[in-house]
Symmetry: C2
């Protein structure tokens, strides 16, 4: 029945610094027949996330095993079931799972969730209604705990998670200052997403910007970036501030050691905390977030923006844009039409 | 009535790196008569604390104003009231307050608490029953939140706060590993204070020691030291670990920028937190700690060790020993006999 070709990106060497096409092998093989209990998914949209860069590194004490050399590169994706010997899934179902950077995936159904394109466009399930949405929602509300009137700062503010964090904070009555790279992203944050202010780290002094926009200090900082930006915010904390460490995209491609936050003693002076989060921990509570997020989107209070690029074969180059900041919103690789 | 001479150490230049005698002027003046509402305290014991080093620096965003040039160096102390025009205090009362590095202090009574030498020896009110005790008790129990069976690591473990932290953690059923400088301090921690293990950072590799003594990772880290030791512990965190930032004595005399913890992304991987504490915040709850601490001391479960040196005139040299680690327990400067 099948005899279809599956193109795949396999990780074949561990990137040093920036990811290069030569770190992968682009291969093709026949799509297999599903065995009993298995299903075959045609991949439609692949999620491109900064965390994938970490999965390419050799194992250290990390939260998830690295991708082994020779394996298909791991990635979350949305697809459509095209063959099934699994009772839970039928041909035509749309599903969300770790299908990898390839055109077709074979799954035993574990970890898959069904999604409904009648409720929301499919890419939204990789964005506000997916991992970035859960990350923003629980990281901000459970760990950052903003109160009405608090000043919330978010770095990587025009990124998939950051843009949601800022909007959720606004909905909860906080003042929101975004840090992003470039005038256009900053304009977007303020004019289209309703941020109270934005700081363009590529063209402005972040410390000066924080001083201007956070006269009473920073109550909550949601950090996606690390490096100098984290240090600048540490120097502006309000008493009892909460820092949520979600990522450190400025450090992921480093070939030198990570830059630790030299101003960390501001935590002491300000009785502040810095807490790391992992979205997986919140999966059991995903429904809470989904209900709120979908409601806010329907009410026009929250915008989700996906930056959809086409063509599996361009994966390495498109992925790299996450680190140069060329994406506008959640970066999604479209592999096939629905 | 008075005409007594008051010797004082005034801060007259801001130390660069290590504190030197030349940063102070040793002066004398007559003890004043108390005005209405005031009292005169004869200083008996002065508390020497690492935090004093920070007070000598020019104002930055800090939790307390710096000592101005020309002012008596700020310090907590225990003294005896020798003259009073304040209804709350009578001649002969023993009091705890910020009396400074001098022989006599004039006070309006604000911030003073009475202490009872019949309940505990006076130096203990600068140690287990004073600021170090409150710091250890609330920092560990309120922020570190050790559970029975947890592995608790404390740096500066033979210091005033560290030794109490380890003992309180033991009382609460945790496994305790201390990090201290020198074989004698480590022996003391294990053999006299009942720590489960100690790592001698001057003669051992701290990372190897942590690996050996914390096979399941570190659940709570109470950090008095910062620098490389903080980084080593970050690399050994257990899932959900709590780091209490109490101080960073390794960094206080730096003439170069503070070394930030390069391994801070371990907070993310391990969903861990790092929280700064200030003992002042817990003063309203001091009684809770005092009752427990005094009870544990009376029951022989907790030892408080004071390292009492004599002679106000030796203040700069004795203070410096805090940073070379020459003190054995809480460093106290005895100024006069009771």
């Amino acid at each position: 029945m099948m005899a279809t070709i599956n193109h795949q990106f396999k990780l074949t060497s561990r990137p040093v610094g920036d990811v290069r096409r030569s770190d992968f092998t682009y291969t093709s093989q026949d799509v297999p027949e599903p065995a009993d209990g298995e299903l075959i998914v045609k991949v439609l949209y692949i999620s491109l996330d900064p965390a994938m860069r970490g999965w390419m590194n050799e194992s250290r004490a990390s939260y998830i095993a690295p991708v082994n050399l020779g394996e298909v590169m791991r990635a979350g994706a949305i697809g459509r079931v095209i063959a099934s010997k699994n009772d839970r899934f039928a041909i035509g179902d749309f599903v969300n799972g770790m299908f990898g950077v390839q055109e077709y995936a074979c799954s035993n159904g574990q970890g898959l969730t069904k999604v409904d394109p009648a409720v929301a466009p499919l890419p939204l399930y990789l964005s506000a209604l997916g991992m970035p949405g859960l990350t923003a929602y629980f990281g901000l509300l459970d760990v950052g705990k903003p109160k009405a009137g608090d000043t919330v700062v978010v770095s990587g503010a025009a990124g998939a998670v950051g843009a949601l964090v800022g909007q959720i904070a606004r909905i909860r009555g906080a003042r929101v200052v975004g840090i992003a790279g470039g005038a256009e992203k900053c304009r977007y944050l303020v004019q289209e997403l309703g941020f109270d202010a934005a700081i363009d780290y590529k063209n402005e002094n972040v410390s000066e910007g924080l001083k201007a926009h956070c006269p009473n200090g920073v109550d909550v900082f949601f950090d996606n970036v690390g490096g100098d930006i984290l240090d600048a915010v540490l120097a502006r904390l309000a008493r009892g501030a909460r820092i949520v460490i979600c990522g450190a995209i400025s450090q992921y491609n480093n070939t030198t050691p990570v830059k630790g936050p030299a101003n960390y003693l501001s935590l002491l002076v300000n009785r502040a905390s810095m807490t790391g989060i992992m979205v997986f921990d919140y999966y059991p509570r995903a429904r809470e977030a989904m209900v709120d997020m979908a409601g806010w989107i329907a009410a026009g209070k929250l915008k989700s923006r996906e930056d959809i690029r086409e063509g599996l074969s361009h994966f390495p180059e498109i992925f790299s844009q996450l680190f140069s900041g060329e994406n506008q919103g959640k970066l999604v690789l479209k592999v096939a039409s629905e």
